[in-house]
């Protein structure tokens, strides 16, 4: 039972910075923690920090893919991957090779002197350890060969001493590097994001590349030909990287390392889940069944023992959101989920439920021969959903414009994000003025980034943070069960802010079962 909170419950020290953590008083607000979550509950940063140094021994762990396969005829090769030393052992003089290949210096100046190109807030570049351009967020990478040469030189110069370059800080501009085996990623940004946050973003981009190629293929290619032009293999996948970067800039989901669920009455969601389970439970080797709509999760069913990492689910959402072609017909496509198993592909049966229902069903298996059984299962699922009028329920939930913060009865709060840590899910109201414009939404997300960074700073993580500036007052609070980020009007008093926080938490608690998926169904 929720008790009434008074000012004393949260006692600020009067500083803008850190407050006393009142966790003991707030256990009532902790989310209901499921015994198991379908998503791996993880803090985004931790999980990515672990893999920051390219450690080839990571690759030798048991293959998830092999494990969920009954017959191991098709298991991916377990080739030993050599540690990539090429980047470190090269000297700058060797580099000239890369820049000599540039035939279009004039074009390059045209691009780099271009005012629009220079004024971009954030650039992302991807290159091979040999300095070959792979991708540029803005401008054609073909025209930036010298620039890629410089980046490669910086990385290998620092690498010569056995060091790894992570970032360069100048006034107003931040350069972040991420070296991942045979490829390097660099970000040049004028935003106020932290090195850790940019590194997470570059990791997402790297995961996107692994997702289309598998780590196996990526490593093998460069073992065979160090000078390989990866653009050949990535042709058509640039749009996935573009889309991922746009999502990183505009969606809080990737910042929080969590997914948003389509709000549904719990019995409705359970009914949908049961229909999918009953239509698929005879199919062996089906690892995940995922139903998504409007960039939100409707339900997720998994094979026992296996879990989906939120980062992998973001790759799936990115694929669905950036591939119009799935709407035209049933598709059968390979996809690698790096957190699940970077070494091989899963096969995905992808289809939208029906012409009159814009939810997308993905059935992921390790068995390449399963298309027809899955196609049949999908047909059954749709028939059953239609008979139970659940397609309508999904449609009306998708058509719902979302809950504005004003419905919560907390006039001081303009917006908030609530993350349930145990389930790696989050919820936030639809942006209302002044955040309904693109510009406003961007500023809000920037504010959340600042809060998020300060709360999760590796050296000195905070539990509570209250920041007041001219545009808004921001409050961030991390407990064992949840994270809460709130934007208030700038002149809110601390008392009112705390009362509002308590109201928000009470509201979330009341609707918890509809806003979040709290069970973890399996086949």
């Amino acid at each position: 039972m929720a008790t009434t909170k008074t000012d004393e419950d949260v006692d600020f020290k009067g500083e803008n910075d850190e407050g006393k953590h009142p966790e003991g008083n707030l256990l009532n607000f902790e989310p209901e923690v499921p015994v198991e979550s379908m998503l791996v509950p993880t803090d985004n940063f931790d999980s990515f920090e672990q893999e920051a140094p390219p450690d080839p021994s990571n690759l030798k762990v048991d293959s998830n893919l092999a494990e969920c396969q009954n017959n191991d005829n098709n298991t991916v090769d377990d080739d030993k991957l050599d540690p990539d030393t090429s980047g470190a052992s090269r000297s700058i003089s060797e580099l000239s090779l890369a820049s000599e290949e540039s035939t279009d210096h004039h074009g390059e100046e045209e691009v780099t002197n271009n005012e629009e190109w220079r004024s971009q807030e954030k650039h992302v570049f991807i290159l091979s350890s040999a300095g070959k351009p792979i991708y540029s967020r803005h401008g054609s990478e073909d025209k930036l060969v010298t620039l890629f040469g410089v980046m490669q030189a910086l990385v290998s110069f620092i690498g010569d001493d056995g060091d790894v370059i992570r970032s360069i800080h100048t006034q107003g501009t931040l350069f972040v590097f991420l070296i991942k085996g045979p490829i390097m990623l660099a970000c040049v940004c004028k935003t106020r994001e932290s090195v850790a946050q940019i590194t997470v973003q570059l990791n997402y981009v790297y995961s996107q590349i692994v997702s289309v190629l598998t780590l196996q293929q990526l490593t093998r290619i460069y073992e065979q030909r160090r000078n390989y032009d990866l653009r050949r293999l990535l042709a058509g996948a640039e749009r996935l990287i573009d889309h991922m970067l746009i999502a990183l800039e505009t969606q809080p989901a990737l910042l929080l390392g969590a997914v948003q669920c389509l709000p549904l009455v719990p019995t409705t969601r359970d009914a949908i889940t049961n229909i999918i389970v009953s239509s698929c439970n005879k199919i062996k080797n089906l690892v995940f069944a995922i139903l998504v709509g409007g960039n939100q999760l409707v339900t997720l069913i998994r094979m026992k023992k296996f879990f989906l990492h939120p980062a992998d689910l973001h790759l799936i959402l990115n694929l669905v959101n950036s591939s119009e072609s799935f709407k035209a017909a049933e598709s059968w496509t390979p996809i690698c989920l790096p957190k699940f198993d970077p070494k091989g592909f899963l096969h995905a049966h992808v289809s939208y439920l029906a012409e009159d229902c814009e939810a997308c069903l993905l059935l992921l298996t390790v068995d390449a021969d399963l298309f027809f059984p899955l196609s049949e299962a999908k047909q059954k699922i749709v028939e059953k959903l239609r008979r139970a009028s659940l397609l309508q329920s999904i449609n009306s939930a998708l058509a719902h414009p979302g809950t504005p913060v004003s419905q919560l009865g907390v006039p001081e709060a303009r917006h908030f994000l609530y993350k349930c840590k145990a389930t790696a899910q989050f919820w936030g109201p639809v942006p209302a003025p002044p955040y309904q414009t693109a510009e406003g939404a961007k500023r809000l997300l920037d504010q959340y980034r600042i809060l998020h960074h300060r709360l999760h700073a590796p050296m000195q993580p905070l539990k509570l943070l209250y920041l007041q500036d001219h545009a808004e007052t921001m409050l961030g609070w991390v407990t064992t069960g949840f994270e809460l980020y709130v934007a208030f009007e700038p002149l809110v008093t601390k008392t009112n802010a705390i009362n509002a926080v308590n109201k928000i938490l009470r509201w979330i608690k009341k609707d918890e079962n509809g806003l979040f998926i709290t069970n973890a169904p399996t086949f």
């Binding site: 289309v212 749009r239 072609s325 035209a328 017909a329 059968w332 496509t333 027809f372 196609s375 049949e376």
Partner: protein, 221 residues
């Protein structure tokens, strides 16, 4: 009525118009904004030729290089292949030769091959001569077609030819991957949705009705 079920795979480089062709034929439409295929898309359609109904399972594959290694999964057990290139891009024609070699190496049963030069609406930018393509098609035992998905020219013929080719294959006892059976019912749509009883033991594909399904009736051939 005699019914034949066969698999047809559409192969070719990125952007030559494979999906546009299939969508033009099955969906009877053309979109300028078709997004690249991811993996492969699956369609079904039916063609009635005299007293035979041919059900086609169409695998429209992605042309992007990264899906190249997945191709065997899509062309395995195929009875026909549409090898599509863009008549304005010579390298897409060259790429077909690799596809043919790969099919010859990996597909044991006889296949109906159709070489298709698409985008005849851009004929003033033609880079692949009709004669050269025709000769090549003959050399691989296939038939050459020129089409325009944009202007809906020549596409019916391509699929019709493949269907007729499959009927011929089905008369050849060596061909085990084609599924042949008799259905007493002729055209009732409810009967179409029933999965037909398998008669041959070699059958592996289990087919359910799908989104793109559509009945096509042709008066003659």
């Amino acid at each position: 009525m005699r019914t034949i079920e066969g698999k047809i795979v559409v192969l070719g480089s990125q952007g030559v118009g494979k999906t546009s062709m299939v969508v033009r034929y099955i969906g009877k439409m053309f979109s300028h904004h078709i997004s690249p295929t991811i993996g492969a898309s699956f369609f079904t359609c039916k063609i009635n030729i005299d007293e035979t109904r041919v059900k086609l399972q169409v695998w429209d594959t992605a042309g992007q290089e990264r899906f190249r290694s997945m191709a065997p999964m899509y062309y395995r057990n195929a009875n026909a292949a549409l090898l599509v290139f863009d008549i304005t891009q010579y390298h897409t024609f060259t790429a077909i030769k690799n596809w043919v070699k790969e099919l010859q190496r990996n597909v044991e049963e006889p296949m109906v091959l159709a070489l298709v030069g698409n985008k005849t609406d851009l004929v003033n930018q033609r880079k692949v001569l009709r004669e050269e393509a025709h000769q090549y098609a003959v050399s691989i035992g296939g038939t050459y077609f020129e089409t325009s998905a944009l202007q809906d020219e020549g596409i019916e013929e391509v699929f019709l030819n493949s269907a007729i080719g499959m009927i011929k294959l089905s008369e050849d006892s060596q061909c085990t991957s084609l599924r042949v059976y008799d259905s007493s019912d002729t055209s009732s749509p409810t009967a179409i949705l029933q999965p037909p009883p398998p008669l041959t033991s070699a059958v592996q594909l289990d087919k359910g009705p799908t989104q793109g399904e559509q009945e096509r009736v042709l008066a003659c051939c």
